[in-house]
C-alpha cells in the first residue's frame, strides 16, 4: 500500500516536472539577475563567455546551459537522462555515447566571482545558480581539481559589465581567449555554431540525486552541422576513427584502474579495524 502510494507520488512528480520547466521558461524575463557562463574548449577551440539573464525561480547548472542556448545560441547535448553534459559548443560526445571520449570530458567548475575556480563537488543538476555567479566548463582530461585544467581566470564583471545591469537581455558577448587563437588555425568560434570534433566524446557532471525525472535529452545542434566541420588539425583531439578512439580510451582506463597502494592500505586498515572491533566485542561479552 505504502509502496504503491510512494510510486504514485514519484509518478506525479515525474509528470509535473516538465510543466514546471515550461512555466519557468515562460516567465524568463526581466528579473535583472544574471550569471556568467564560461565554456573552455581546451585544446579544441576557444573560450566562450556568456552573460546569461536568469529567469524567476531556481536555476540549476544545467538550466544555465539551456538558458545560454536559448539566449546566445550555445549548442549542447545532455546525456544519461539529462544528468551529464556530453557536448558543449560542438565539442564532446553525442548523448548516445556520452562518455565515448573519456578521459576527455567536460569538467564542471565554480567561479568565485573574481577569477578563481574551484572544482564542483556536486553535479550541475543539483547546483543552484544565483545572481552574480560564475560557472565554468572546461574540456580536458583529469578526474579531479588537481589534474583537470580549469577555465581561464574570469571575473563576473568582465563577462557581465555593471553598466549593462538593467538590460533585460544582454547581447551575446563571447570573447575569445588569445591562447586558443594561436593553437589552431581554425576560424574563430563564437557562441553559435561549434566545430564538432570527433563525434565521440565525454562529458562530466557529478549529479547527486535523480533530480531530473522525465527529462528529455536535449539535442540542439542539427545532425548536419555536427561532424562536418570536424577533424580540424587540432593537436590533441582524439582520432575521428571509431576504432582508434576506443583503443585510446581503453588504454587510459587500464592505466588508471587497478588498485593503488593507498587503496590497498585503506582496505587493509578498514578490515583490521573491524576485526579488532569484533575481538574486543567478543572479549567483553565473555
Amino acid at each position: 500500500m505504502r509502496v504503491r502510494s510512494t510510486f504514485a507520488c514519484l509518478l506525479l512528480v515525474g509528470t509535473l516536472a516538465p510543466v514546471g520547466f515550461a512555466t519557468q521558461a515562460a516567465c524568463a524575463s526581466e528579473t535583472g539577475r544574471r550569471a556568467a557562463l564560461v565554456v573552455d574548449l581546451g585544446d579544441e577551440g576557444d573560450v566562450h563567455r556568456y552573460c546569461v539573464a536568469l529567469p524567476r525561480g531556481d536555476v540549476s547548472g544545467l538550466d544555465l546551459i539551456e538558458l545560454a542556448g536559448a539566449q546566445h545560441g550555445l549548442t549542447y547535448e545532455f546525456g544519461e537522462g539529462g544528468r551529464a553534459v556530453c557536448m558543449l559548443a560542438g565539442v564532446g560526445a553525442s548523448s548516445d555515447d556520452c562518455f565515448g571520449r573519456y578521459p576527455y570530458f567536460w569538467g564542471y567548475w565554480k567561479g568565485d566571482g573574481s577569477g578563481g575556480w574551484s572544482w564542483s563537488s556536486t553535479g550541475a543538476g543539483s547546483t543552484l545558480v544565483q545572481d552574480g555567479d560564475v560557472q565554468g566548463w572546461s574540456w580536458g582530461r583529469g578526474d579531479n581539481a588537481s589534474s583537470h585544467p580549469p577555465p581561464p581566470a574570469t571575473g563576473f564583471d568582465s563577462v557581465c559589465p555593471p553598466a549593462a545591469r538593467k538590460e533585460p537581455k544582454p547581447a551575446p558577448k563571447p570573447e575569445r581567449d588569445q591562447r586558443e587563437q594561436k593553437a589552431s588555425g581554425r576560424e574563430p568560434v563564437t557562441s553559435g555554431a561549434g566545430p564538432a570534433a570527433a563525434p565521440t566524446a565525454a562529458p562530466t557532471t557529478r549529479p547527486t540525486a535523480p533530480a531530473r525525472l522525465g527529462r528529455k535529452v536535449q539535442r540542439t545542434q542539427p545532425q548536419a552541422t555536427r561532424g562536418r566541420r570536424a577533424a580540424a588539425p587540432t593537436v590533441t583531439a582524439a582520432p575521428v576513427e571509431r576504432g582508434g578512439d576506443l583503443a585510446a580510451v581503453r588504454t587510459t582506463r587500464d592505466e588508471r584502474s587497478g588498485f593503488s597502494v593507498a587503496a590497498v592500505a585503506a582496505i587493509a586498515l578498514t578490515v583490521s579495524l573491524m576485526a579488532l572491533a569484533v575481538v574486543i566485542m567478543r572479549r567483553r561479552a565473555s
Partner: protein, 261 residues
C-alpha cells in the same frame, strides 16, 4: 570522559562522513566507529542498540540504490551514485549509533546552560525513549512467555504494545514525581559530580578536530578525490593522508575504554 568531547567526536565524524562519497574513506570511518563502539560502549541495553542503527543503514543503502532504478535511464553511473550516497548515509547512521551507545544522555544534559534546561530535559527524555522502550518490550515479552503465551510475532504486537506503552507512562510519571520531590524548576540548581575536562577528553577533542580540519582542507583544495566522479564512472583516488587521519578518531579507544565486568 567529558561528554562534550563525545559530542565533538560525533560531530567531527558525522561531518567527515557527509563530506565525502569516496567508499574507501567511508568504509574506514565505519571501521573506526565500530571499533570505538566495541571498546567504549556503556554496558547495558545501549551496547546492543548499534545493531538497530546498522540495520537501518543497510536498509538505507538498499532503498537509495533502489530509487535510482525508478528514474528512467538506468546506467552503471546512476546506480553507483545511488549506492555511494546510500553508503554515506549508512556511515552517518553508524557514527550516530556509536555516539548513542558511548555517551550518557543525562550527563550531556548537564552540559546545557541553565536557561535551556527545560528544553534540553525534554530532548534528553525523548532520546532515552528508544532504549527504554526496547528494554520494556523485552520485559513484557519475557513476562508473557512465563505465563505460557506463545503467539506469532505479528499477532503478538497489539498484546505487546499496550503494556509497553503503560510501562512508558508509568516511568514518565515516576520520573516527574521524583523531579518534583527534588524541587526541580524551583530556583537554583546545585551541581554534583561535575565532569572534568581532563587530558583524555582534550586528546579526543583534538583528534576529532584534526580529522575534521584535514578533511575540510582536502575538500577545499581538491585533494584525495573526496567526491567521487560517477559521470563518467572513474576509479577514485585514495589519499593515504586522509585514510591515516581517520585514525585520529580512534583516540577514545585508548582514553576511555568501558569498564570491564
Amino acid at each position: 570522559m567529558h561528554q562534550g568531547a563525545w559530542l565533538l567526536w560525533a560531530t567531527a565524524a558525522g561531518l567527515v562522513a557527509i563530506s565525502t562519497t569516496n567508499p574507501f574513506y567511508l568504509l574506514a570511518l565505519v571501521g573506526v566507529a565500530l571499533l570505538v563502539h566495541a571498546a567504549c560502549a556503556r554496558p547495558g541495553p545501549a551496547l546492543r542498540s548499534l545493531k538497530v542503527f546498522v540495520a537501518f543503514g543497510l536498509i538505507t543503502i538498499v532503498t537509495r540504490t533502489g530509487l535510482t532504478f525508478l528514474s528512467p535511464p538506468v546506467s552503471a553511473s546512476s546506480v553507483v551514485t545511488g549506492l555511494l550516497e546510500g553508503l554515506r548515509l549508512a556511515t552517518l547512521l553508524t557514527v550516530f549509533g556509536t555516539f548513542n551507545a558511548v555517551s550518557d544522555p543525562s550527563a550531556i544534559l548537564k552540559l546545557a546552560p541553565r536557561r535551556f534546561h527545560e528544553a534540553s530535559l525534554a530532548a534528553a527524555l525523548a532520546l532515552s525513549i528508544a532504549p527504554r522502550t526496547v528494554v520494556a518490550a523485552g520485559e513484557v515479552r519475557e513476562a508473557q512467555r512465563m505465563r505460557g503465551i506463545h503467539v506469532s510475532r505479528l499477532r503478538m504486537l497489539p498484546a505487546l504494545a499496550v503494556p509497553v506503552l503503560e510501562t512508558g507512562m508509568e516511568q514518565a510519571m515516576a520520573l516527574a514525581e521524583s523531579m518534583d520531590a527534588r524541587g526541580h524548576g524551583r530556583g537554583r540548581r546545585s551541581r554534583y559530580r561535575t565532569q572534568r575536562w581532563d587530558r583524555g577528553s582534550l586528546a579526543v577533542s583534538l583528534g576529532a578536530a584534526l580529522a575534521l580540519a584535514v578533511f575540510v582542507i582536502a575538500g577545499r583544495i581538491g585533494h584525495g578525490d573526496l567526491s567521487v566522479s560517477t559521470y563518467p564512472l572513474v576509479w577514485p583516488d585514495v589519499s593515504v593522508v586522509l585514510v591515516g587521519i581517520l585514525l585520529a578518531l580512534c583516540v577514545p579507544v585508548a582514553v576511555d575504554p568501558a569498564p570491564q565486568r
